[in-house]
Symmetry: C2
Subunit: 206 residues, 2 copies
Amino acid sequence: MRYRKIPDETIKRLPLYVRHLQLLMDDGRSRICSNEFAEGLCVNPAQVRRDLSFFGNFGKPGVGYDVKKVLRQLRNILKLKNVNKTALVGVGDLGSALLGYPGFLQLNFEIVAAFDNDPKKIGVTKNNVVIENVSKLNLIKQKKVRIAIIAVPPEAAQQITERLVEVGIVGILNFAPCYLTVPKKVKVINIDIAMDIARLPYYLPR
Amino acid sequence: MRYRKIPDETIKRLPLYVRHLQLLMDDGRSRICSNEFAEGLCVNPAQVRRDLSFFGNFGKPGVGYDVKKVLRQLRNILKLKNVNKTALVGVGDLGSALLGYPGFLQLNFEIVAAFDNDPKKIGVTKNNVVIENVSKLNLIKQKKVRIAIIAVPPEAAQQITERLVEVGIVGILNFAPCYLTVPKKVKVINIDIAMDIARLPYYLPR
């Protein structure tokens, strides 16, 4: 099924809906109205209705949304139904934390390969993943991994990115504090921790 | 000096400018034109000029921007001139990584207090910070800390937030995967790692 063009801002909110619907289902809820659903997420109810309307008529006035059905369809749209095999490059402090991050598995992301250039780390098993030498990024191709998390120092990030694209990576979650240049087919999402904290003081009262 | 209302999108880009200008200054550059500056950041040059124009006339046509002067003023606007003392709550894997994160100090954020509820961690020194019992959040008031990083499990985050607000925290960088309810004077910036990776597959080619 093809959908009409979805705004990025809507796509940004859908994973929040998925996580929230999962919690509701775990709580045994089968139906929810948009107002209550929105409240739990601190999103405007009209926004929720508009977002979900992109994907067909989920809700019925006075009856609400079918939790299981909406969840299934959102997972489908976001391609979260099957396991998304993921590689991690850089197993420093931050990379180690990401290797054990519980939020990934909840959403069906499994880190199946990890790489570092530190001889002391290579060969070590962490969270059931053996850390490999970064010279062996070819393993990504063998394992048919398409998503990678980059947690290397900024000076190494561009070179690693180019190698990752060569071995078939098309989606990157980048924690290195720098801009990555990639071919058009590759999607990069940046998490730049220092940049986020750096705008906090501006908003603080005197 | 008071500036006219700055859009949040501009404020979001200013820390990037600061970091880039710091690198340029470290490289011994004293002047830069908006085109070259924008190129290094992958921002549109017109965007850079528009963003900087909010704060007065920095650049001169044909001469470019004075790196040191712009850097000083941007740091001033973002309140990054003086050290921003920061507290960390939750020293698990992610919290530990944040405690040693080099990007914070570069931008003048110093973690001066860390808290956890795990008896095995309390009293341990990491990166020159002694991990304190989370029951001692009062220390934040004593040390006049106004910014906190939350890296606790989601079920504990709201309660911790309320305690933090009580002891004087007005800015929060929240890594817990949940929405925090705070008084109006408190600014929260969320980094929700799983939500960011969750929208990657949507963009990938088949």
